[in-house]
């Protein structure tokens, strides 16, 4: 089994890439993708820790379910992310229709 550290490192790297992407890019679609990246970094961690805990307990009692709750959260996150994507993409489409651009810096006012 791979040490948990690798998973953590990978998740941190993904999350950081996501944050930096959100902070530095102006294209709404790329920002969106970076947000997905961050969500998936978290998902990766959840799955990794879940496996870790389950592995410890299963060694003594194969029937145990300890640690499996985290995998449920992953599904929740995926569902919410899917919903978010649909809403977010709709917003981006509307944005493009109105200002013919997906650059978020054009959206610095609360009116036209």
């Amino acid at each position: 089994m791979m040490p948990i550290n690798y998973y953590i490192m990978l998740a941190m790297a993904l999350f950081s890439i996501g944050i930096i992407g959100v902070l530095t890019r102006r294209n709404a679609i790329i920002i969106f993708m970076c947000i997905e990246l961050m969500l998936n970094a978290v998902n990766l961690l959840l799955v990794a820790f879940s496996k870790l805990h389950y592995g410890r307990v299963a060694a003594f009692s194969p029937e145990a379910t300890t640690g499996t709750e985290a995998q449920l959260f992953v599904f929740f996150i995926m569902v919410v992310a899917a919903a978010e994507v649909s809403v977010g993409l709709a917003i981006i489409v509307m944005m493009y229709r109105n200002i013919h651009s997906v650059d978020v810096n054009f959206l610095n006012r609360l009116k036209h």
Partner: protein, 632 residues
């Protein structure tokens, strides 16, 4: 009839409401009729009440109208006390009050009808408050009346409020009265704390058990109230300025009734004062000092009403001297005779002013005796009465006070006598310069000189008769045994008080000598003043010591320098420095700093999504740092 005593104040109250509410609709004759008739009705009830009191001898009747304050242990009923003292004051107030209402009807006829009705409304309200003051069965009701008369005094002094000076005089009177009232109020609180009640019967019943220190404190504070209302040193100088009001007002409020409220109050509380010898001495000394100071100022005044005003202050001083030496009956007697002759003199002065078309300077009068025969004769009788020439009323009452003063300490008598001589001098100076010699006014005035209508002369005649005969109510023991009717009448009021005092009696031979000397001296002074000022009226401005007297010993200036000026400086400092830079600075500073910080924070709201995210990330980093390193 005693049960119906509440009618006495009720009538003027009704008159006040009718005139006050209907002042825009009532014609002058209706307003005058309502005003006068209500006081006349009160007068008639007062006579019946007095008759009852005389028959019931000694017993005070308490008439409780309703509960005024009832909370916990504190119970103050709205009650009237009818006894010899209040019945006597009722009679004087409503009697003199009615005559003055009648007089006002003619005197004020130049006013427009709404102001005319306003005048009568105020006058009726005054009579109501004054009746409340003397009828109250506890100090709180007395205090209500006490404040009421102060208010009416203010309203009537400032009756011609369009004149700035008159308005200022009204404010001065009100403020100085308020200073006194504060003393009165503190005395009430102290009394409440000491005795748990404000009703006369309970306070007097418990007073002998209280400590002398407490009684002295209470009585001195009450006396502070009296100095304000009755114009004694140090609060006397509002009264001469109060002459800004219409002359009948000066006669009623500032001579006959309101200013004697202090004397009534001390006479009513005689038991408390007797238990506090220090307070008695203070009262006597202040009274005497006021008597002599005011008399000296009156020597050099040229305004006919100012002379009478200072004379009033001086006579009030005598009354306080009487109270201070234990001559309670004498003081009340003097209140009564003074009400008659001083009201007479003021109304006479009003008649003169009326005839002279609002000229008040006696240097521009002279020789009015022939033109105004009734005014002249009655004024002369008033002067004789106040000068203390037997057998006029002033002689008896003043003599009674001075004899008691001699018994207490001869020095009181000598100073008091000197004051009486000065009184005789300035009164006859006033008389001679007004009515004797040659007329010094303009031809215009000489042409229009006329005797006043009957509404004005009738009160003069009635008051003149009273000034002449009222003295016979109090013939001293010296002349006839048991002839002092007033003493017998008032005896129940002062009996308990007198029992605590050692009786000083002057033996009859000394009394004869003092009496004879004083009468001879007064007659001499009167003859001198009459001659001197009829032939050679002093028309030039006073110089030297006379100037100091003419300028009223510069007391007003002194007060301005030591009280008003520092107060104004303090107020100016508070206004310019504390208010402007302190309080305003603080308030504006808070506003400005909020505005400034708002302007700075506004910049965060750039609308750039990127910057929001950046801040969010920085915030999260901060939270992580905080939680990891456990900073808080």
């Amino acid at each position: 009839m005693t049960k119906l005593v509440s009618l006495v104040p009720l009538f003027p109250l009704i008159g006040f409401l009718i005139n006050g509410l209907g002042r825009n609709y009532l014609s002058k004759s209706v307003a005058a009729f309502v005003g006068s008739a209500m006081v006349l009705a009160a007068f008639i009830v007062s006579i019946l009440v007095l008759n009852d009191v005389r028959l019931a001898n000694a017993e005070a009747t308490i008439v409780t109208l309703f509960d005024f304050i009832r909370t916990g242990d504190l119970y103050i009923p709205f009650a009237f006390q009818v006894d010899a003292l209040s019945a006597l004051f009722l009679l004087v107030i409503t009697g003199v009050g009615f005559l003055i209402h009648l007089y006002s009807a003619a005197y004020m006829h130049e006013e427009s009808s709404d102001h005319y009705a306003r005048y009568f409304a105020y006058l009726n309200l005054f009579v109501f408050s004054m009746l409340l003051l003397v009828l109250g069965a506890n100090y709180l009701i007395m205090f209500i009346g006490w404040e009421g008369v102060g208010l009416c005094s203010y309203l009537l002094i400032g009756y011609w409020f369009k004149n700035q000076d008159y308005g200022n005089a009204a404010k001065k009177a009100f403020v100085m009265n308020r200073i006194g009232d504060l003393g009165f109020l503190l005395a009430l609180f102290w009394m409440l704390q000491q005795f748990g009640s404000l009703s006369f019967s309970e306070v007097f019943a418990n007073a002998p058990n209280a400590t002398t220190a407490a009684i002295t404190g209470i009585t001195l504070l009450l006396f502070v109230g009296a100095t304000g209302k009755s114009a004694q040193i140090p609060l006397y100088n509002w009264l001469p300025d109060a002459m800004a009001g219409p002359t009948p007002v000066s006669a009623l409020i500032h001579a006959a009734t309101m200013v004697t409220a202090g004397i009534y109050m001390i006479a009513r509380s005689n038991l408390l004062y007797v238990l506090a010898p220090t307070s008695m001495t203070v009262v006597a000394v202040v009274g005497l000092a006021t008597a002599i100071l005011a008399a000296s100022i009156a020597l050099r005044q040229n305004d006919i009403k100012k002379v009478l005003a200072y004379s009033t202050v001086s006579q009030l001083g005598y009354m306080f001297l009487g109270l201070g030496v234990g001559a309670f009956t004498g003081a009340v007697f003097h209140v009564m005779t003074h009400a008659f002759f001083k009201a007479l003199l003021f109304l006479g002065a009003g008649s003169v002013i009326h005839a002279m078309h609002h000229e008040q300077d006696i240097r521009k009068m002279g020789g009015l005796a022939k033109k105004l025969p009734i005014t002249h004769l009655t004024f002369l009788l008033g002067c004789i009465a106040i000068a203390g020439i037997p057998p006029f009323s002033g002689f008896f009452s003043k003599d009674e006070i001075l004899m008691h003063a001699y018994a207490a300490h001869p020095i009181y008598y000598y100073i008091g006598m000197a004051g009486a001589l000065i009184t005789a001098f300035y009164m006859f100076r006033l008389y001679a310069m007004t009515f004797r010699g040659k007329f010094r006014g303009s031809d215009e005035q000489a042409h229009h000189l006329h005797e006043s209508p009957w509404q004005m002369t009738l009160p003069l005649i009635v008051l003149a008769v009273l000034s002449v005969v009222a003295g016979f109510l109090g013939i001293p023991e010296l002349f006839a045994h048991d002839a002092h009717k007033l003493q017998a009448f008032l005896a129940p009021i002062f009996a308990t008080g007198s029992s605590y005092m050692e009786a000083h009696a002057v033996d009859h031979s000394t009394e004869w000598v003092l009496l004879g000397t004083s009468v001879v001296l007064i007659l001499g002074i009167v003859a001198f003043a009459w001659n001197r000022f009829a032939k050679d009226p002093d028309l030039h401005n006073a110089s030297g010591f006379g100037k100091i007297l003419a300028e009223k010993w510069y007391v007003d200036e002194l007060y301005a320098a030591i009280i008003t000026k520092p107060m104004q400086l303090l107020a100016g400092f508070l206004n310019r420095v504390v208010e402007k830079s302190g309080i305003d600075g603080l308030v504006n500073g808070v506003g400005r700093s909020v505005q400034w910080s708002g302007r700075q924070l506004r910049l965060l709201q750039s609308g750039q999504v990127g910057s929001y995210v950046l801040w969010m990330v920085l915030g999260m980093l901060l939270l992580i740092v905080v939680s990891v390193f456990k900073i808080f």
